[in-house]
Amino acid sequence: MHITRGFTGRPRVADPGLPPGQYDAGDDWPVLSAEVTPELASADWTFRIDGLVAEPRTWDWEEAHRMPPSAYEGAIHCVTSWSKFGVRFAGVSLDAFLDTARPHASATHAVAYSHTGYTANLPLADLTGGRAWIAWEYDGKPLAPEHGGPARLLVPHLYFWKSAKWIAGLRILDHDEPGFWERNGYHERGNPWEEQRYAGD
């Protein structure tokens, strides 16, 4: 650690919700996606779970909305070092989808993929137990296209690149396969509390 001459930083407010190396973005919600925002109507949105599951299945917008609603209220954390507090997402818990598809006992990981072709890998344990959602509402309104609408994956306890926008499906695997940013040098898991930003962290 090197002290930077003359650097004082923002006034420090001890916030136990702020992981190391992060700052509070306040009302801002920066958009970070590497690809063109797709024009994807909710009527054309589908979500599929396949791979190592007992029942591969695709849900359309109407079918997904008939599942029990579930909401997340809390913080999100981006690897570029902003965090955002008090966000409110609504959708369906991923547990509800996985309970239908029933992953095999050998399943350990998933590749989440989007309608644009974006991918992110996640341990299955990070997608179950009420910690992951398919989200289509933000702050009571439909999720904006640039933030992943009509629906995105939401895994708020990991860096937000794991929460694939325009989510199209999960392929359940018995091993880990790096996704888009992971092949570009980012960390395999991305836990903000451990500052797992880049491969080797």
């Binding site: 930077t4 650097f7 700052y23 797709p38 392929r171 570009n184 880049y198 962290d201």
Partner: protein
Amino acid sequence: MTETFVPPTRFAVPGRIAVSEQAASEWQTATVTGIRRETPRVTTFRLAVPHWPGHLPGQHLMVRLTAEDGYAAQRHYSIASAPDDSGHIELTLDHVEGGEVSGWFHTVARPGDRVEVRGPVSGFFAWPGDRPALLIGAGSGVVPLMSMIRHHRARNLTVPLRLVVSARSPEELVYARELGAETTAVFTRSAPEGVAVGRMAAAHVAPLLAEQPAGGWEAYVCGSNSFAEHASRLLVTAGQPVDRIRIERFG
């Protein structure tokens, strides 16, 4: 049963770009060696980085500043300089109102100061100089694109390269002195005599897509999110395939 299928990442090229895990995970100390005003709001900071592993145009790095009480702030910044600038890298930073890190650079930093850097990181927006590149930027979004132009010149590359850049006025056009025949400037608030004022439009982009080089363009878009949305739509409307558009958005 072992599944090996991974859904195709349509817009990926990263196979050709290896990001060094070691470079990405180690912090090192860089020394400010020069400060150069570009526009009233934008300044270039030159850093000596003795163990810089090299980068590709378009890559970025993290900068970390640490206060006396141990509080640290880190930010991602695009690298402005070409890879061949031996032992040095340059960052060109907007003076963001209330910016914690950019504010330190603009109001405190002077030659001799030391900061920590880590990188280069991310290969997606990088351009190795191997394919025709159509660069579209606005404001300080021109920074990683300038690294590509400098690389193109430094290596005397012959692969086609074009830049369409938007600025509020000629005074706010970053790197104005360096931009050359490859560049079309678009001014949104005020323009030199005889040049139209207005937003970047199909008329700026469509002619470039009408005269495709062999193999087609690889498009790189960098700017604010609203600009990136606008510019990427112009490209798509003009026929550029979505999987050959890379976007770097500035909050």
